[in-house]
Symmetry: C2
Subunit: 190 residues, 2 copies
């Protein structure tokens, strides 16, 4: 039986190596070195760098994806943006995500995995928020869910992952308010 503590050490090492040197430069030797294990232990679990990274990354991404459903679009929106901003400001995640995104443009398997890990658990989720809001009458009937999601997540990603500017609650509120306005949302009943 493979030892769980060693598997965990390797997973941890992979995430940190990914953050430090990126997928392109990631080497299994360095992973084993960092995890304090032999290369053998790594190859006993995965046969490839690609397979290893995909399994580990999707494993991390899949768990703990909260599901905002607060009953109103305004709070759903704010909560989602808050969660995403926290995730994109996480030291390691903020390095790994743009790196894998760039790599996905070259490697279809990475693209597919990221698709599953991020788009399914985030964009599709956001589209559900929009759908609910339309049903509740908080958003106009013709609202394009895709466009709405782009307006929500685009500025956040741009700010955090591209410009790497820290984001405070005040900024989040401004963006949220802008999204509400531009979508023609009915203000919360408060």
């Amino acid at each position: 039986m493979l030892r769980g503590d060693i598997t965990a050490a390797i997973r941890n090492a992979v995430m940190h190596e990914l953050a430090e040197v990126g997928y392109g430069r990631l080497s299994i030797e360095a992973v084993a070195r960092r995890a304090g294990v032999g290369k053998t232990a790594v190859y006993r679990r995965w046969s490839n760098k690609l397979e290893m990274v995909l399994e580990i990354v999707s494993g991390v991404a899949e768990r703990s994806v909260p599901m905002p459903d607060t009953g109103s679009f305004a709070t759903d929106l704010q909560l989602t943006m808050f969660i995403v901003s926290k995730a994109l400001q996480h030291r390691i995640a903020s390095q790994i995500i743009p790196d894998l995104m760039a790599e996905a443009a070259r490697n279809p398997k990475i693209a597919e995995t990221l698709n599953k890990a991020l788009r399914t658990h985030q964009t599709a989720l956001s589209e559900k928020i929009v759908g609910q809001a339309i049903e509740r009458g908080e958003l106009p009937k013709g609202t394009d869910p895709e466009l709405a999601v782009d307006l929500m997540l685009g500025p956040l990603y741009w700010r955090l992952a591209v410009l790497r500017t820290p984001v405070d609650d005040d900024y989040l509120e401004k963006v949220a308010a802008s999204v509400m306005t531009s979508l023609g949302a009915t203000p919360p009943a408060s």
Copy 2:
């Protein structure tokens, strides 16, 4: 005197290698191979992979940065978004930009260069557009230029560089309209 045609061949090879394998995996040997020149020719011009890439990339980025100043915010906005969307849909640029962005998170020199090449020639430029619009009374006085830029470029970058979804004129208009609305812009005088 260094031969210009060979320098050009190397520059071209670097851009294509960057697009295909990314900065992390880019090797000078491969560049020379692709350019059909000897490694000697490369090392005679630059001493590093880093130095070479920075010089070439900033050279490409610096030239031909048009300056939208059409006289109205609405058209400035549309023109800017059109130009940016064209740039981000360029086969090679759309691979290189996210890759270097991710690399910039690790390498301060790359970050600085990208800063100069993109932020100065694009964000600051966009901020000028917003400033002019405020002077003309097309935007409210308190408008935050940074926020405005984020709302303009964020969704575009998200769409094109992250999701890699093609963008048509219809989508561009929708985003532009959303930005106008959320900023409380005065509609064009037409």
